[in-house]
């Protein structure tokens, strides 16, 4: 109860402090002091403190199952385990907005204390732009999505949290994802401030790089966590569905990755300034756009939060204000450094990064168009179509092979100008691997040509980056690690997709099912009761062709509040492959329906993304830009 009041008034105070902060900053901007007034930093800290207090208040309300709070009532239940009561705080629309505010205010505070050597006016402008976003979100929360609405009479029990959200990976997925996603707000604000101050330069590039890296690392890991959750929890054996909410997190990742590479050029050569600003604006814009798409109810998806058009209108207007404002500032203030700074020799590192941008923007357009086109079509012609995985795969996959090849050759090029040196060893290598792959894949898959080329390109990248990592004394380790991780990622996905197998069948307790020389034996079922669900566990013994035996225990759970039946897959993960078993009830029948999948290299998909992120982390800890 008290927590409710404290939480609510903290938010109001936070908003008031925002406004006050803006006023003080504008005054400070105009005075003659060389440094940013310490008042401003203190105020920023206080603003952060209020949001933290509000957030903690909501957490406490959840822990205490305080159902006088409407959000807690809608999303929690007394029988939920403590860990999920806490993570339920941000697993709903209102709570996740508090998380937005938390990251927004945290990042601007950290920015202020970590940018003391930067020009004063630039820092203040960054603060002002960020406050604009913060005020917008305060208003959004207080006007349309208050987490502290009071319910009377106080219900005795809550409506519960959807059980598929009660999973450790999903509990930490939003905070990590937001640190990336929302963290790109600081890049947005800082870029606008830098443009207005004509400060887009090498020094600025060096300064902003760490913020780009931090946002990028968290976004990468956040997306990975979401995929891991989908794979382990949703029981379908897939990890990416090109679902609108997934696409919406992928799009900022694409622009952020392109931005990261452009910052390198900015740092080293002072070029690609327009690209840097536009990508900074676009990344956060896409984050906001994503927020709009998944919270307004305009799209249909498993993941969508609240379906409330009034919230949608607010975000839509807010989003477009930000877009018009940022583009306005860009066009008014941006000066090209000099006429020739953005023309490069075709065989140089700069041009390879331009090529990278080119491909990234293409992938971005595929995902963006695929996600929003149904909306446009529906409004214009009232036709409803679905855009699903086949669309994205067909348009992206053919471009991956050339993209991978560019990743092989690009980093090897020198700055400014490169000679067509003896790259023949690489080309011979490529030809050999194509021939090799052809013969290996001939018996396994029908999309022969396609997979052959793609896998060869991925292998080429894999081998060149491994060579740099393990055998040469290479100065740009972070890049080699990251690219190595990416090549491993593509290889894992490709081999997983080619070599996966599955079998679906109906089976009774005590029955054996034979296929392909392997056997599935349905030993028994057991029933169990936990705090908020009861379950039927199926015990299966699976013997493969070679005689190796494993036991899998998939579950069917019946949750009590809300009443939902879920299938929990049992997955045995090893370095080599995952064995995946799901069991489902067949209505009105005595037998169960099971799906058994063998998925090679699944673990490597996650490991490779970790390696990719680690490359980013290595870059963060470098002192100065190295070759």
């Amino acid at each position: 109860m008290l927590a409710n009041q404290i939480g609510y008034y903290s938010l109001i105070l936070g908003l008031l402090f925002s406004v006050y902060l803006c006023i003080v900053s504008i005054k400070d901007f105009n005075n003659a002091d060389k440094k940013v007034s310490t008042n401003i930093i203190t105020l920023s800290f206080l603003q952060l403190a209020f949001v933290i207090i509000s957030f903690i208040s909501l957490i406490l309300s959840f822990i205490n199952s305080d159902f006088s709070n409407e959000t807690v009532f809608n999303n929690s239940h007394t029988t939920k385990p403590l860990f999920y009561k806490i993570s339920g705080t941000w697993g709903n629309h209102e709570g996740s907005l508090l998380l937005w505010l938390l990251v927004l205010t945290l990042f601007i505070f950290l920015f202020l204390i970590k940018s003391r050597e930067q020009p004063k006016k630039y820092r203040i402008l960054t603060l002002l732009f960020q406050q604009l976003i913060i005020i917008g979100f305060f208003l959004f929360v207080l006007m349309t999505s208050n987490p502290f609405n009071y319910l009377f009479p106080i219900p005795a029990e809550g409506l519960g949290l959807n059980p598929i959200l009660q999973d450790p990976a999903l509990a930490i997925h939003p905070p990590i994802l937001y640190l990336g996603y929302v963290g790109s707000s600081i890049i947005f604000s800082a870029s606008l401030a830098a443009v207005a101050q004509n400060y887009i330069s090498r020094e600025w590039g060096q300064h902003i790089k760490k913020w780009v890296l931090i946002s990028w690392i968290f976004l990468t890991i956040g997306i990975m966590l979401g995929s891991i959750w989908a794979y382990y929890e949703l029981g379908w054996g897939g990890f990416w569905f090109w679902d609108p909410v997934e696409n919406v997190s992928l799009m900022p990742w694409l622009t952020l990755t392109a931005l990261l590479h452009c910052i390198l050029v900015l740092e080293r050569r002072g070029a690609l300034t327009s690209w840097v600003v536009i990508l900074s604006i676009t990344t956060f814009t896409l984050s906001m756009c994503g927020t709009f798409l998944v919270r307004s109810g305009i799209l249909n998806s498993v993941h969508t939060f609240a379906n409330d058009p009034t919230r949608g209108i607010f975000i839509l207007i807010f989003l477009f204000i930000l877009i018009f404002l940022s583009l306005g500032i860009f066009f008014l203030f941006h000066k090209e450094n000099n006429k020739n700074s953005d023309t490069f020799f075709w065989l140089s590192k700069e041009s390879s990064i331009l090529v990278n941008n080119w491909f990234m923007m293409y992938f971005l357009s595929v995902v963006l168009i695929g996600t929003v086109y149904p909306i446009f079509l529906d409004v214009i012609s009232a036709e409803k179509i679905s855009v699903g995985p086949p669309f994205y795969q067909k348009l992206i996959a053919p471009f991956l092979a050339p993209f991978l090849l560019f990743m092989v050759f690009g980093p090897k090029l020198k700055w400014i100008k490169s000679k067509i040196e003896n790259k023949s060893s690489l080309i011979i290598f490529l030809i050999i691997s194509v021939i090799l792959m052809f013969f290996i894949l001939k018996n396994i898959t029908t999309d022969l040509l396609f997979y052959t080329i793609l896998i060869s390109a991925a292998f080429l990248l894999f081998f060149t980056t491994s060579k740099e990592l393990f055998f040469k004394k290479f100065t740009n380790m972070s890049q080699a690690v990251a690219h190595f991780g990416f090549s491993l990622f593509i290889l894992s996905i490709l081999f997983n997709s080619i070599l996966s197998s599955e079998i679906t069948t109906n089976i009774k307790v005590g029955e054996r099912f034979n296929y392909n020389g392997a056997e599935i034996f349905f030993k028994k079922i057991e029933q169990d009761n936990k705090s908020n669900f009861s379950s039927i566990v199926g015990y299966f013994k699976i013997t493969n062709k070679k005689g190796k035996v494993i036991e899998l225990k998939p579950e069917i759970r019946v949750y009590n509040q809300p009443v939902i039946i879920t299938s929990e897959a049992d997955i045995k993960t090893t370095l080599l492959e995952d064995k995946f078993l799901v069991m489902n009830i067949v209505k009105g029948k005595k037998y169960f329906n099971i799906r058994y999948q063998v998925k090679p290299f699944m673990l490597w998909i996650w490991i490779s993304i970790l390696i990719l992120s680690f490359g980013g982390l290595m870059s963060l800890s470098k002192k100065k830009y190295e070759k």
């Binding site: 949703l234 609108p244 498993v302 020799f345 293409y362 168009i369 179509i385």
Partner: protein
């Protein structure tokens, strides 16, 4: 005895080819089911869903494949009943030209813009 042997061989080879064609049918069925939207679920394919609607569709697709329909004919059948929304792979039609071609167009335009900025002479 010989006739029995011949019968046995014919029978086994027929069931073997039946097995092979069963396997092919199974693959085709899974491919199709992954491409059909479960209309009463939120964003799941029929393949992934255990709902009533999904089970009915699975049975019908199975039957249609056994009847010898091709992949496109199965989609056509379902689109006729439920509209284009039921299929995840948007067909290239007058509704979807922009969808498919716009990214490719952007790719070419992007390439042209970048190419303009590159110096090709020494």
């Amino acid at each position: 005895m010989k006739i029995l042997k011949i019968f046995l061989i014919i029978f086994l080879s027929m069931s073997f080819s039946q097995l092979k064609s069963d396997e092919k049918n199974n693959k085709l069925k899974n491919k199709i089911l992954k491409n059909i939207r479960c209309l009463i679920c939120q964003g799941q394919s029929v393949y992934d869903s255990e709902s009533d609607f999904a089970s009915s569709i699975k049975l019908i697709v199975n039957k249609k494949i056994k009847d010898g329909l091709t992949e496109d004919q199965v989609y056509k059948f379902l689109i006729e009943k439920y509209g284009e929304w039921v299929v995840y792979d948007p067909k290239l039609s007058k509704n979807t030209y922009i969808l498919w071609l716009l990214p490719l167009l952007l790719f070419l335009v992007g390439g042209a813009i970048i190419g303009k900025n590159l110096i090709f002479k020494k």
